[in-house]
Symmetry: C2
Subunit: 211 residues, 2 copies
């Protein structure tokens, strides 16, 4: 294992895993770096460089074993266990994530949903009740939650993560449009839809203005 793995590399590992799973269903037993690159995602050389950071999984002349590489990648990505996730904010974004079938399939269990709106508290999403926001610490501690999904308005997000981290949360998936300040041992992944839309706006606007 290398000293530091870049974020881009990790995203690509996740991509390779998806390709492997598709391939596994089709019965293939080995796969080349070319195929793992998969369309326009990246290049064969990049695939080999990425994988070689963690070991030597392939056979020259043949490729990578589909099943074994998949299990290696799951191990590298930390997906051999299940994660206990607390969703803070029962709005649309939270709902979208919660209902996402891949969420559970990939090892992420939503063990609690919190919201500060009394009108929502008490209703149920499937088998999970919506609980009041005040119970955050209690929920994190008692259920042994690992990850917090922050799907609250921007001005409430910092407070939520501070409380969650103090109660023992180990990672944050942040949908709020703010840069969260957290201790350095708590990783944060940001998803910002406005940013994505604006990046798209930029790209469309500047088509052909370069090259």
């Amino acid at each position: 294992m290398p000293r530091r793995v870049s974020d881009s590399t990790v995203r690509r590992l996740s991509h390779y895993l998806r390709v492997l799973e598709d391939l596994g269903r089709s019965g293939a037993t080995t796969v080349s770096s070319e195929d793992l690159a998969g369309g326009g995602g990246t290049t064969a050389a990049q695939v080999r460089k990425d994988l070689s950071q963690f070991g030597s999984f392939g056979k020259r002349g043949l490729g990578y074993p589909v099943v074994e590489l998949g299990s290696r990648l799951r191990s590298i990505l930390g997906l051999e266990r299940r994660w206990r996730v607390v969703l803070v904010g029962a709005g649309r974004i939270g709902s979208a994530l919660f209902a996402y079938p891949n969420f559970t399939r990939r090892g992420f269990d939503c063990v609690a949903v919190l919201d500060s709106d009394p009108a929502k508290v008490g209703s149920w999403w499937g088998a999970v009740p919506i609980r009041p926001a005040e119970e955050l610490e209690e929920v994190v501690r008692d259920l042994g939650a690992d990850l917090i999904v922050v799907a609250v308005p921007a001005d409430a997000a910092q407070r939520v993560v501070e409380r969650a981290v103090a109660a023992g949360a180990r990672g944050i998936l942040n949908f709020a449009a703010v840069t969260l300040r957290v201790p350095s041992h708590v990783p944060v992944t940001n998803v910002n839809l406005v940013m994505e839309l604006e990046a798209l706006s930029f790209a469309v606007t500047h088509i052909g203005k370069d090259a």
Copy 2:
């Protein structure tokens, strides 16, 4: 304008714009690169490098004019116009995006919602009816849509973008977990929640294993 602007730079421009808008509300008239960096997002030097790619907007010794820089950034990002967006897939993710207030506020108008499920077709989201998926080309052409939000299952996504692009769509925001193949003049922005979760899983799993 530079030959090519990196994706990271564009995301940061979007971030600067948000900081400027917050600052504008607080009445400030100028802002330093230090403040634009805003917390842990980036550094002052990075801010100046980013902005200098597009011109010389600041005054030495003073900083950047809040209002003017905001309007310059909006111009650079292509946000002076409004965008007509077609949402394909009336599921949870589509619903989340649709209901997002910033969506409209930032200049993105959802002009149509399509879904292939006959049970959903005919109902209304606010003032927008859900129409059958077959009408994609018609909708894109007749409403002069610019952007397509793809919120359909992975195996349907490629077909949707092909039809949309053929009908005149100019940019794609893709929530499906596949790499879309599109003509080079059609930019695609991908949002992949599984990838974000797996990146978080990796980060939490490997805390302290380096450094």
